[in-house]
């Protein structure tokens, strides 16, 4: 995601990552990896629940975590593109996101 930051930015896409990691853990991750996109913390998986993305008990010591998923949302708050992977090792490619972003004015 960081690598395609410039092309995403050029397409007017703000990238935001969400996981159950605490703000401190995410800050460490961002520093180590040099991430500049917004990282949000959902420690109790409340938003993950609201988006029906809970992978129950799959995290460290049986914690509920998010299954990987990507949503592209336009400025009116409407979902324009969704990627729910069937295999957690297979994620959306930046090209797919950029293609979807093109149709959003």
């Amino acid at each position: 995601m960081e690598k395609s930051r410039d092309s995403l930015k050029a397409a007017g896409v703000r990238a935001v990552a969400i996981s159950i990691d605490s703000p401190e853990e995410s800050r460490k991750l961002a520093q180590e990896q040099g991430y500049t996109f917004t990282i949000l913390s959902d420690p109790n998986a409340e938003v993950i629940q609201r988006y029906d993305l809970v992978h129950a008990g799959a995290g460290e010591s049986g914690k509920d975590i998010a299954r990987p998923a990507e949503f592209l949302i336009d400025s009116s708050g409407t979902v324009r593109w969704v990627n729910l992977t069937e295999n957690y090792m297979v994620r959306a490619r930046p090209e797919q996101v950029l293609e979807a972003a093109k149709s959003i004015k």
Partner: protein, 152 residues
């Protein structure tokens, strides 16, 4: 082929098996084409399996100097290697698909549920804010929400 000599196919088979597994984690997982389907690793495993079979035949040949020891070592190395390959294939092709169904996730055309969460500085950030707050002076056209498993 002199079967009394050092059983190199067995040991090279073991090394290739380990290389096939760890190269996925260290190298191939970062390349989308080999992450989504690890064909390079499967190829390495195939070569490893062939070498292991040759190694098993050698290790079990009766002309070996210490036949019993050779059989034990051969069996252990082969068993470990094949278990390793099986575990790799299981985690990549089976385990990683054990995801719960998500029927209630927002569909295309629906409103994305509003939320407020803390960012890495501890500041509360809402979806509305993300959609409207300018990035480098211009408001974003869209927001890409990426849910991920977490860094554990």
């Amino acid at each position: 082929m002199d079967v009394r000599r050092f059983n190199w196919p067995l040991w090279v088979g073991l090394l290739l098996t380990l290389a096939g597994g760890f190269s996925f984690l260290l190298v191939f997982v970062w390349i989308p084409a080999t992450r989504d389907f690890p064909w390079a690793n499967l190829l390495i495993f195939l070569v490893a399996a062939v070498l292991l079979f040759v190694g098993i035949r050698r290790g079990f040949a009766s002309a070996r100097r210490r036949p019993t020891l050779s059989k034990i070592v051969t069996s252990l190395v082969a068993l470990f290697s094949f278990a390793f390959i099986a575990l790799f294939i299981f985690s990549v092709f089976v385990f990683s698909r054990w995801l719960p169904p998500s029927t209630g996730a927002p569909h295309v055309g629906q409103k994305a549920p509003e939320f407020t969460l803390k960012d890495t500085t501890g500041r509360d950030v809402s979806l509305t804010q993300l959609l409207s707050e300018p990035v480098d002076g211009t408001p974003p056209k869209s927001v890409l929400l990426v849910f991920y498993r977490g860094y554990w």
